[in-house]
């Protein structure tokens, strides 16, 4: 029985050690990413402006050629080449080459950064697992545990995207930076020694509800980073399109990011994919509340902010289907929705008294 278990001190100490070690490795990854950006800046990338001027000059749609290659006479056919084209009304701008800027040295540092991130992720994940073993329960009983799991999942999701060969390496630096902030906060202000749960948290719904909540938060976070960069990149492209002349630093950074359209699509996909899971999280929470408190919905502060977050993301999805709200406005809504998620996570736990506030700060 979970409750009879005694806290295993040495495992707990090992977990702490692993978390601190992961922070050290993340710091190395952070510097490697900085090096990637610094060396990448030596490259000359000005493709956005070129693409925009080409469009303004009325260049024709990409020419279509029939591409059939025959290999060694035995008529092995390649796929016919598919030409893609953005919908009318969107800018056709190529994606930037990434932080490394296509330079060999930058790319080397980038690869080092990713390898270090993988290592840090493994160390951090073991730290979370050790914590779970030390308390013999799900490691989500207080904010320290939420925070460490949260950043582990966010990095895991990012590495998952990399593994799936998605173009996300541009996210490396912002992600590693914020993961360090998150862990720094967790190990200083939110640190709670490992221990067991109060009876109200001792339920299998904890596994279901809290794990999905953390997962949703971590992936929404990745979406939010994409959205934020989209806004910057979109301003940059707008400036170029209207003949503006961005500063050298902005140019160097922005040119290496994916195009605004790609960033927007990326964050939409991420947010849209998580939204049903977030819906499920709230419903699972309601079922749990029904068992634990005798009502499945009682407008408790935590419930209210989950609901606000949910409506916020629903508004975002709607905005993307509403004329006049696509693009930047929808992006602002997505950021507001994520801010609501964050407030629910930190704000409600710390400032608002709620039935959920036993999640020890």
């Amino acid at each position: 029985m979970i409750l009879a278990a005694t806290t295993n001190e040495s495992l707990a100490r090992m977990s702490d050690l692993l978390i601190y070690s992961s922070m050290a490795v993340y710091t190395l990854a952070f510097f490697a990413h900085i090096a990637e950006w610094v060396f990448g800046s030596r490259s000359k990338v000005g493709r956005t402006a070129a693409a925009l001027t080409q469009q303004a000059a009325g260049a024709a749609a990409p020419a279509v050629t029939v591409q059939v290659t025959k290999a060694g006479g035995t008529a092995v056919l390649d796929k016919p080449q598919v030409v893609t084209r953005s919908a009318a009304g969107t800018r056709d701008v190529p994606d930037g080459p990434g932080a490394a800027g296509g330079t060999v040295k930058g790319d080397l540092y980038g690869r080092i950064a990713v390898s270090l991130t993988v290592l840090a992720f493994l160390v951090e994940a073991s730290g979370v697992v050790a914590r779970a073993l030390s308390v013999q329960r799900a490691p989500w009983g207080n904010m320290y545990e939420f925070s460490t799991t949260f950043s582990t999942v966010a990095v895991g999701a990012y590495l998952g995207f990399l593994l799936a060969k998605k173009n996300v390496r541009w996210m490396g630096l912002p992600l590693v930076t914020t993961v360090l902030l998150d862990l720094g906060m967790a190990t200083t202000w939110l640190k709670t020694p490992s221990d067991q749960l109060v009876p109200a948290l001792d339920s299998y719904w904890l596994w279901i509800h809290v794990s999905t909540a953390i997962f949703c938060g971590a992936v929404f976070y990745i979406g939010a980073v994409g959205t934020l960069l989209y806004l910057f990149r979109d301003s940059y492209e707008n400036k170029l399109a209207t003949g503006g002349n961005p500063g050298a630093f902005a140019r160097s950074v922005m040119e290496r990011l994916p195009s605004a359209a790609s960033l927007d699509k990326f964050s939409y996909r991420v947010n849209a994919a998580v939204f049903p899971l977030w819906t499920f999280t709230i419903i699972a929470g309601a079922i749990w509340a029904g068992d634990a408190w005798g009502r499945y919905w009682g407008w408790d502060a935590k419930e209210v902010w989950s609901f606000i977050t949910w409506v916020g993301y629903a508004a975002y999805l709607h905005a993307r289907a509403t004329a006049g709200w696509k693009g930047r406005k929808a992006a602002y809504i997505a950021l507001i929705a994520f801010a609501c998620f964050l407030f629910n996570y930190y704000g409600v736990n710390i400032f608002v008294s709620s039935k959920h506030s036993y999640a020890g700060v």
């Binding site: 009325g58 109060v198 408790d300 209210v304 709607h318």
Partner: protein, 566 residues
């Protein structure tokens, strides 16, 4: 930035091909009011209300409106907190009361927002459903003239006859469960109708959930009952300490059952930094629905379910047993007195009230009252604190202060069982302790001065548990709605609705030109991939011929319109 070279006709061609790929309402571009009198205005208003833009604004207002309820205490959640807030903010209170900030979620304005939203939702779903049914019964629209303009495009030349290619394309597409038909020189196909179905199901499910919620509110009942170990409860209105019900609830709908609390067991963390944190709470009960007695354990996350009703364990505390004797040695009170915990270590306060039967040493009828402070684990004499050090019964101590006089229980005002109204009472002077209160260990007796009698703190200390008994219909419906909502949403967000066209015409040089293009509701990386796969499948029956000289084929217009339009 739209393409400057897109001519008007081409754009309309694209739009026709993409039309009805979703059932989203058309945006009203002109916001000016109508000129058609009342009916016109009503229609205009209705169209506004059911537009996406207004739905979006209402969603915004709904989330904004929910905020104050999380920051201001709510009557429905905690009346005591509301009272404390009102006392602390005398200037804000009247304003908040006017704005219904203490009852946000049942306020007029919050209800107005969500009712408007749901009216908008219904006004949106009904026409969308008809439109969708219409789309299901009609065929995918024919190919636009210029397939090169679509988001994904491919082309090749083949020796196969155009009719042959079209037939093959039809077969390939149908095999992949596209709805396909041949229209003129091209095959038109569409797939992913489940997206729209899922979206409609999701929105309908939201309405189902709202109805279930409202139903539950109207017919629910909820009451609290504090029970000391050994005592019982039967589910009738008079037995409740407090009781709330929805406006449509009839008291005869209370589920007939009864239960007895055999024992309550709490265990607490013994050491470490979280010493004292509760680990288990268990209430052992025997219950009966009219038939045989059954045993059950109620825990915090595990209510007892009896028919439609659920019995939840809400709180617990201690109920020391005391015996009060009057001046002549006659027992006038004997029983367990529940004490109200005031901190996490269950330092508790309470009142012992002896209402009748007591006579003082002169035989005069009087009432007795004691205020009690009970700690399950005493810090030790001289520690300077009377607060409990641990929640379990390790070193129980009770401090009592006695009063005699009139308890004022019949003054007409409701009385708090944990507090004594001492306005009409006189305090006993006590020789031990502080002179006012006396600290007692279990088994000890305090003698009241002037032969006024005695009070004994018995060795046996009982625990009490309080329960909430709720009955709420509509939960099953709400759950069904929730599951349907998630399923619909998943379909709506993960399924891509897309159209594919395959055109095969004989080129100027007599060789067949195959063109394939795809269009999705939203741009998706999957669409070009799928188009590529389909093209590969089709090349099996329409093998490509050699690449012609570039001069033979103008890249911009591979299908000369003269032939395409025939």
């Amino acid at each position: 930035m739209s393409k400057t070279d897109t001519t008007e006709t081409e754009r309309t061609g694209d739009e026709a091909a993409g039309a009805q790929l979703s059932t989203a309402p058309q945006e009203e571009t002109a916001l000016g009011g109508p000129t058609l009198g009342v009916v016109g205005w009503v229609r205009w208003f209705w169209r506004q209300l059911t537009s996406m833009r207004v739905a979006l604004i209402l969603l915004f207002m709904l989330s904004l409106g929910a905020v104050p309820g999380s920051l201001v205490p709510q009557t429905s959640a905690d009346e005591l907190k509301v009272a404390a807030f009102k006392a602390a903010h005398p200037t804000l209170t009247p304003l908040y009361e006017k704005l219904q900030f203490f009852d946000v979620y049942s306020s007029v304005w919050f209800s107005a927002i969500y009712i408007l939203l749901f009216v908008s939702l219904i006004g949106c779903i009904v026409p969308r459903t008809w439109q969708f049914v219409g789309q299901l019964r009609s065929r995918p629209p024919g190919a636009p003239r210029r397939l090169t303009r679509l988001p994904a495009y491919t082309t090749w030349r083949t020796e196969a006859e155009p009719e042959q290619v079209r037939e093959a394309a039809l077969a390939v597409l149908k095999e992949r469960r596209f709805r396909a038909h041949t229209a003129g020189d091209a095959v038109a196909a569409e797939k992913g109708y489940l997206r729209e179905a899922g979206n409609l199901a999701f929105h309908v499910a939201l309405i189902v959930m709202l109805v279930a919620f409202a139903w539950g509110q109207l017919f629910k009942s909820e009451g609290g009952k504090l029970i000391v170990e050994g005592d019982g409860f039967s589910n009738t209105l008079t037995q409740y300490d407090d009781f709330k019900s929805g406006s449509q609830f009839g008291t005869d709908e209370l589920q007939p059952f009864s239960f007895t609390l055999n024992s309550f067991n709490g265990t607490y963390e013994k050491g470490g930094p979280q010493r004292g944190t509760p680990r288990t709470f268990e209430a052992d009960v025997t219950y009966s629905e009219g038939g045989a007695d059954k045993k059950a354990v109620i825990r915090v996350n595990e209510p007892l379910k009896v028919g439609d009703s659920k019995v939840y364990l809400i709180a617990h505390g201690y109920a020391p047993v005391v015996t009060v004797k009057d001046g002549r040695g006659k027992t006038v009170f004997h029983g367990a007195v529940p004490m109200l915990p005031i901190d996490n270590n269950i330092t508790s306060t309470g009142a012992i009230k002896v209402m009748d039967g007591y006579r003082d040493k002169n035989g005069k009828k009087e009432q007795l009252g004691f205020t009690a402070l009970f700690v399950p684990t005493f810090a030790g004499a001289g520690s300077g604190t009377m607060f409990s050090q641990f929640p379990a019964l390790d070193f129980p101590v009770m401090a009592l202060t006695g009063y005699h006089g009139d308890l004022r229980v019949n003054s007409g005002l409701p009385q708090n069982v944990y507090q004594l109204n001492t306005t009409k009472m006189k305090q006993f002077k006590i020789d031990k302790g502080t002179g006012v209160a006396q600290r007692m260990l279990p088994g000890e007796t305090m003698t009241l001065p002037d032969g006024a009698g005695s009070i004994t703190f018995e060795k046996e200390i009982k625990e009490w548990a309080s329960f909430q008994i709720s009955q709420q219909p509509g939960n099953g419906l709400a759950l069904a709605g929730a599951i349907a909502a998630i399923a619909g949403l998943t379909g709506s967000l993960f399924i891509q609705r897309r159209r594919i066209w395959v055109r095969a015409v004989r080129g100027a040089d007599g060789v067949t030109v195959v063109e394939m293009a795809g269009l999705g509701r939203s741009e998706s990386a999957k669409l070009p991939e799928e188009l590529g796969d389909l093209a590969v499948a089709l090349t099996a029956q329409a093998p490509p011929t050699a690449v012609p000289e570039p001069a033979d084929e103008p890249a911009e217009d591979p299908a000369p319109s003269g032939e395409a339009d025939k």
